[in-house]
Amino acid sequence: MLNLEGLSKHFGGVKALDQLDIKIEKGEIFGLIGPNGSGKSTTVNLICGVYPATRGRIIFQNEETTNKPPHQQLRRGIARTFQNIRLFENLTVWQNLWVAQNSKEDVAKQNPMARWFGSSAAVREEIEKILEFSQLAEKSNEPAGSLAFGEQRRLELARAVVAKPKLLLLDEPAAGMNLEEVEELGERIRNLRDSGITILLVEHVMELVMEVTDRMAVLNFGQKIAEGTPTEIQNDPKVQEAYLGTSSETT
């Protein structure tokens, strides 16, 4: 589904990402972890076209998408959430979802006039369904900025999903959550995968990553230092060194 080949990003002299090679299969939940500054968010931003890549290629569903602008990535089926929630705070919950219906299918379903100026029952149904799924139905007319933190996270996720993505990039979705919320999030992620979405999960919260991912890669200083199943990664000495800063003895 997604191939990153030799992907690199340099900011001036700093190599934020160095020759990253990753293959994500369809229907996987793939994890990306690493200490702060290891290049996780940079990877997400590159895939989405927010930054132009310095070197390397991004191939999505057999099509090269390196350096294509972000709105086109969404149309192709790549959606993302943001580490620091970026909702449209002054728009209502409904509007946040409404403006995000930009997938190829959405565009094809209605003519431009209807899409921009009309309102169809089908569109309304879809949005209502997602609101139900995210438990946000009662807040549909509230400005997004007035939602509680947990609700905002759910809305952020809902907004990414409303465009029916094939690949969903989650950028540290568990940040600031308690254990119960993390478990709910894990459930939701698994449900999304079961509904046919491939997921790249960038995360710091180990419980979530180990629980939910099929495979994962570990970054350190912009380079991939390990790849494998959660169990393999847990026992990898290089990973332990990266996180703990020491080689050998761990109890």
């Binding site: 927010v50 602008p69 959606a79 970026r86 403006v99 995000a100 921009w116 007319n141 465009a163």
Partner: protein, 304 residues
């Protein structure tokens, strides 16, 4: 009575000017170029009616479309600059347009009278209304029908997905891109729409005042254009209308008795208001209050 008709025309025309800046501010673009499009509309329609005998309606239409066309052209380079740089670029654009018309010399003799823009002398004799027997009441009505139509269109836009998209782009460009919105398309369309509305306003202006020159289209007017939506707040079109009524009706006219001192007071008043109510006279809270007072209860539809 004529005086009040004239005043209402001014208010209507300035509302169009304000709305043209409003639609751009929704997308996060602070533009002082509106007065340039205003001027283009004024001169174009004026030339059509005085020099080529056009009826006012097609002249208005063509004036707005020509202004919109130039707005479309400006929309693209405007994307490359953000925030304050856009302010400077648009100031420069407006000055450029003003200077262009300052140098425009295109005269024609119609019915024995020489008409047309006369470079430094300005563009006089835009007497369509008088020549066709319109009295000031009819002109005022004409202006306001147009203004109400534009306001209705924008009000309706605010309730549509297009309106939400404009505001999404204005709020957070990165998020907007990431949900699939094409920033370039949205911003250029907004700029074009703003240009059309400003051109419409300018066309009406030229015919109401019968005389325009480059001095009319000054930075002062450009500032008025953005002052209205800033003061009125961006919650809805009514804010801009209220701001225009406040500034043109109450301040400009009401303080006329101050004569020369009025201009002094004007600058200070802006400073005062900005310090006391930096979010605008009709900010979100005031808008809610007004809505509740006049429309009775927050029935809130699916709109901000």
């Amino acid at each position: 009575m004529d005086y009040y008709f004239g005043l209402s025309q001014t208010i209507g025309i300035h509302t169009l000017l304000g709305l043209s800046a409003y639609i751009l501010m929704l997308t996060g673009q602070l533009s002082l170029a509106q007065v340039g499009f205003f001027a283009i509309g004024a001169y174009t329609s004026g030339i059509l009616t005085t020099m080529f005998g056009y009826h006012i309606m097609p002249a208005l239409l063509i004036g707005s479309l020509v202004a919109g066309f130039f707005a479309f052209l400006i929309g693209f380079p405007a994307l490359r600059v953000k925030g304050l740089m856009l302010v400077v670029a648009t100031i420069a654009f407006s000055q450029f347009v003003s200077l262009f018309f300052f140098n425009l010399d295109w005269r024609k003799t119609v019915n024995g009278v020489e008409v047309g823009p006369d470079s430094t002398q300005g563009f006089r004799e835009i007497r369509y209304y008088a020549a066709n027997g319109w009295d000031s009441g009819e002109v005022a009505l004409f202006v306001w029908v147009i203004v109400v139509l534009v306001m209705a269109a924008l009000w309706w836009l605010d309730r549509s997905r297009a309106g939400a998209v404009l505001r999404a782009v204005g709020e957070d460009e990165l998020a907007a891109q990431s949900v699939g919105l094409n920033l370039t398309a949205v911003k250029v369309i907004a700029m074009t729409a703003g240009g059309v509305i400003a051109g419409l306003g300018g066309s009406l202006y030229a015919h109401s005042t019968t005389y325009v020159d480059h001095l009319t289209f000054s930075i002062l007017l450009a500032t008025f254009a953005i002052a209205y939506p800033i003061l009125g707040g961006l919650s809805g079109v009514f804010g801009t209308l209220v701001a225009v009524i406040f500034i043109q009706g109450i301040l400009v006219e009401g303080l006329r008795f101050l004569g020369d001192w009025r201009n002094l007071l004007f600058g200070l008043l802006i400073v005062l208001v900005m310090n006391l109510k930096p979010e605008g006279i009709i900010d979100a809270r005031v808008a809610q209050l007004l809505k509740r007072t006049f429309l009775g209860g927050g029935k809130g539809g699916k709109h901000a």
